[in-house]
């Protein structure tokens, strides 16, 4: 089994002088600063020789005091080994520019686009540096830079100026005030690029083709996003995705809140998975602090996260099944009724139904209430019988099969190359689960299987999801048997100012691999929080998957991914 120091020595021997600075945190984490001229060669070496076939994302950091910017590429492997290499490349703050990894890793595209639009770091050789999350009006403001002064408040209707266009429409403009121009909050120099509309209209080659809009308010994935498909007859020729309609700037908000307050913001990234988001953030901070979580708290966290996974899977699957004809509305109603039981169980511990704010640095907020285990032991077997019923129901429904089988199939190779996460990856047959790959809490002591599919189509994704619920039930039952008594919070006093350091922590979200990269500069607020969301990774693969399918299948493919644009936009 490869470990981090072996990876480091391999890079050092292959490229002497390429590693400027390095730190082996543990067997599974390698931090290295790579010479910006050699980053492509190092990545090639990693992917060809050391099985680093998973580009997990990248983060941009603005070190304003050191007058430099950093791009941190997060590299991992799909099961060959468990090392996560955090490769940093530095670039001066004036005209920042680094080499793009899109030539090596297909999925680097979105991550680098995001860094470009937020921090203004240019990526040499990137095929499409267009805005992803931000609107065109904000381009050039570089909002994630530390010297960003905020943009004009455009929320008040009073400052809107109505202009009648030549076609007779009324358009509203929000001109900046002189004070705002003086303060430097108004963008004066915008980068030039073709707009989203221009880009998609360029692709229309003949009169028989047209562009159809699905969204921004489309039901197939809960949350707003714009999916434009170029169709010829009933076939989709090309798809264009525009996200960022629900971009909340959570990462930037968290830089302006204290460490403790940050927990509440992680809830709001994806409200059906708020417990795993809490866990991810708190785990990263605990890693910086070097805290040990009491055993009972670890078990409580695992129980609640698995319960949360069940409810997330139920609502995700149920909601999707309302969209495809055939199975119809009934499963949704049954699933939402069953989900109510799980939600009540979680509520009895955390006190909230969706946004839990439950996990704390070094522990949890509340202990399990009296009678929780009994209620769980009563509800979980019922849930198990229901899930088995659903699996059977979908297995024998011919209309469901016609709608779902061999639709949006994705092979294991493609899924790995595109960097999918969660059920999409596992349905393709890749057993990649953070609970095994990067075990946290008490997961190594628990016995569970990683569910995989064979065909990688929409039907498989739903099947994997439902069978994952059975595994979650298994985990909870084991936890209830094993849970020890003891404290639920660490005795160590959590300081208001977290010591300087950085950590990358991964959890298995209901939607797949989720990671948070947290940097502290010793202050009472995080210096940088980067969220590597699972659906962001999967969402990117939607456009190539839609090429060549029928219009009606677009719903079956996008919906089966169990999407949450709120989390991908953050």
């Amino acid at each position: 089994m490869t470990n981090a120091s072996e990876v480091l020595s391999s890079i050092q021997s292959a490229f002497p002088g390429a590693v400027l600075d390095s730190r082996v945190e543990s067997d599974r984490r390698l931090w290295a600063t790579i010479d910006s001229n050699k980053i492509l060669d190092v990545c090639k070496h990693l992917s060809s020789k050391l099985n680093f076939d998973h580009y997990s994302g990248s983060a941009g950091v603005d070190w304003i005091a050191r007058k430099e910017m950093e791009v941190v590429a997060i590299m991992a492997s799909h099961g060959a080994h468990q090392v996560v290499a955090m490769l940093k490349v530095k670039t001066p703050r004036e005209n920042p520019s680094v080499k793009s990894l899109t030539g090596l890793y297909w999925n680097a595209n979105w991550y680098e686009r995001e860094i470009w639009e937020m921090l203004g770091i240019n990526f040499e050789g990137h095929p499409e540096l267009y805005p992803l999350l931000l609107s065109d009006g904000l381009m050039g403001a570089w909002p994630w830079r530390k010297d960003f002064k905020g943009y004009p408040d455009l929320t008040t209707g009073e400052r809107a100026v109505a202009i009648t266009t030549t076609e007779g429409y009324t358009e509203y403009h929000f001109p900046p005030t002189p004070a705002e121009i003086e303060a430097g909050t108004v963008v004066t120099q915008r980068p030039k690029y073709p707009s989203f509309r221009e880009r998609e209209e360029r692709e229309i080659k003949s009169d028989s083709e047209m562009i159809m809009h699905l969204g921004p308010q489309h039901a197939m994935v809960p949350g707003p996003f714009l999916l434009d498909i170029l169709v010829e007859g009933e076939r989709v020729k090309k798809a264009f995705l525009d996200i960022g309609y629900i971009h909340k700037g959570i990462e930037k908000i968290m830089e302006n809140r204290t460490w403790l307050q940050g927990i509440t913001y992680t809830d709001r990234m994806c409200y059906v998975a708020s417990l795993s988001n809490n866990e991810c953030y708190c785990g990263a901070v605990e890693k910086i602090l070097g805290l040990e979580v009491p055993l009972r708290a670890q078990y409580i966290r695992v129980i609640l996260e698995e319960l949360s996974r069940i409810q997330s899977h139920l609502i995700g699957t149920g909601e999707f099944l309302t969209l495809i004809a055939g199975v119809g509305f009934a499963p949704w109603q049954y699933m939402i009724m069953d989900r109510e039981k799980i939600i009540s169980l979680i509520e009895s511990v955390t006190g909230a139904r969706l946004t839990h704010t439950f996990v704390r640095f070094g522990g949890v907020r509340n202990d399990l209430p009296e009678g929780f285990a009994e209620q769980c032991r009563k509800d979980l077997p019922y849930m198990k019988s229901r899930i088995e019923e659903f699996i059977e129901l979908f297995a024998q429904d011919p209309i469901y099969h016609a709608r779902m089988e061999n639709i949006g199939s994705i092979s294991a190779e493609t899924a790995k190359r595109m960097g999918c996460a969660g059920r999409v990856l596992r349905a393709a047959g890749v057993a990649y689960d953070m609970r095994r790959e990067d075990p946290i809490l008490v997961y190594p002591e628990l016995d569970f299987d990683i569910v995989t599919g064979t065909r990688g189509d929409s039907a498989d994704r739903i099947d994997v999801t439902l069978r994952e619920i059975l595994q979650s039930i298994r985990i909870i039952e084991q936890c209830l048997d094993k849970i020890p008594s003891g404290p639920i919070k660490t005795d160590v006093k959590i300081p208001k100012k977290i010591p300087a350091g950085e950590a990358y922590y991964r959890v298995e979200d209901p939607r797949g691999e989720m990671g948070m990269y947290v940097i502290s500069d010793g202050g009472d607020k995080p210096y940088r929080v980067k969220v590597r969301g699972p659906f962001y990774a999967t969402f990117q693969t939607l456009t190539p998957l839609l090429e060549g399918v029928y219009i009606a299948d677009a719903v079956a493919i996008a919906g089966s991914m169990d999407g949450c644009p709120s989390e991908s936009d953050r």
């Binding site: 509440t264 009895s348 209430p369």
Partner: protein, 204 residues
């Protein structure tokens, strides 16, 4: 025929408006049972709140403001500042409850807070306080606080006077005078706390 129907259209609402007919019904008919851990509307124990403002500082949405409220404990909360919560902003995260040093703020099972205007859902300590002193008890406590303040002032004056004397005498006489005054002050304080305690218990 048509006319009769039109008249019926008017008479029916008139009839129903005068009689007490249930128009809106609660659904589900019985409200869901909420667990003990539920994070609903805050419950403030005004008798022990010290008005430190920790809750206001930790609130991520800054929805807590410290305002004046009469029925608290003037011995502990000298400026009589108590939290007022804007439920239009509150996200029920419960950080204020965790942060409270005297555990006077809790979140209960009350969840309904609808109002006709925005200012209706800004709830002051009058709405939040589940435990409070009556006006008479507050008056007593205030008198007590005044007495203690007067006592303190007297001690401080005495101390000053002693210091002046000490300064005049110079050297050896200074130290014992000071120590004596401090010991005296501590004893008085203890006595005052002992007096205040039974009253609190009575109110609770």
């Amino acid at each position: 025929m048509l006319k009769r129907k039109m008249i019926k259209n008017f008479t029916w609402p008139l009839k129903t408006a005068t009689q007490e007919i249930e128009v809106t019904r609660l659904y589900p008919e019985v409200m869901m049972e909420l667990p003990a851990a539920e994070r609903g509307i805050h419950e403030l124990n005004a008798t022990i709140c010290i008005g430190c403002g920790s809750c206001a500082r930790v609130c991520p949405n800054s929805c807590i403001e410290m305002v004046h409220f009469k029925f608290g404990n003037p011995l502990k909360n000298k400026k009589m500042q108590f939290p007022q919560i804007d439920y239009g902003r509150c996200m029920f995260c419960g950080l204020c409850v965790d942060e409270c040093p005297v555990e006077c703020l809790k979140m209960g099972q009350r969840v309904t807070m609808a109002g006709w205007e925005r200012k209706d859902i800004i709830k002051g300590p009058d709405f939040l306080a589940t435990k409070r002193f009556s006006s008479k008890e507050v008056a007593d406590l205030e008198a007590e606080a005044k007495r203690i303040a007067a006592e303190k002032k007297r001690i401080a004056d005495a101390k000053k006077a002693a210091e002046k004397e000490g300064a005049a005498k110079e050297g050896a006489a200074k130290k014992p005078a000071k120590e004596g005054a401090a010991a005296n002050g501590a004893a008085k304080k203890k006595a005052a706390a002992a007096e205040a305690k039974p009253k609190e218990g009575g109110a609770a």
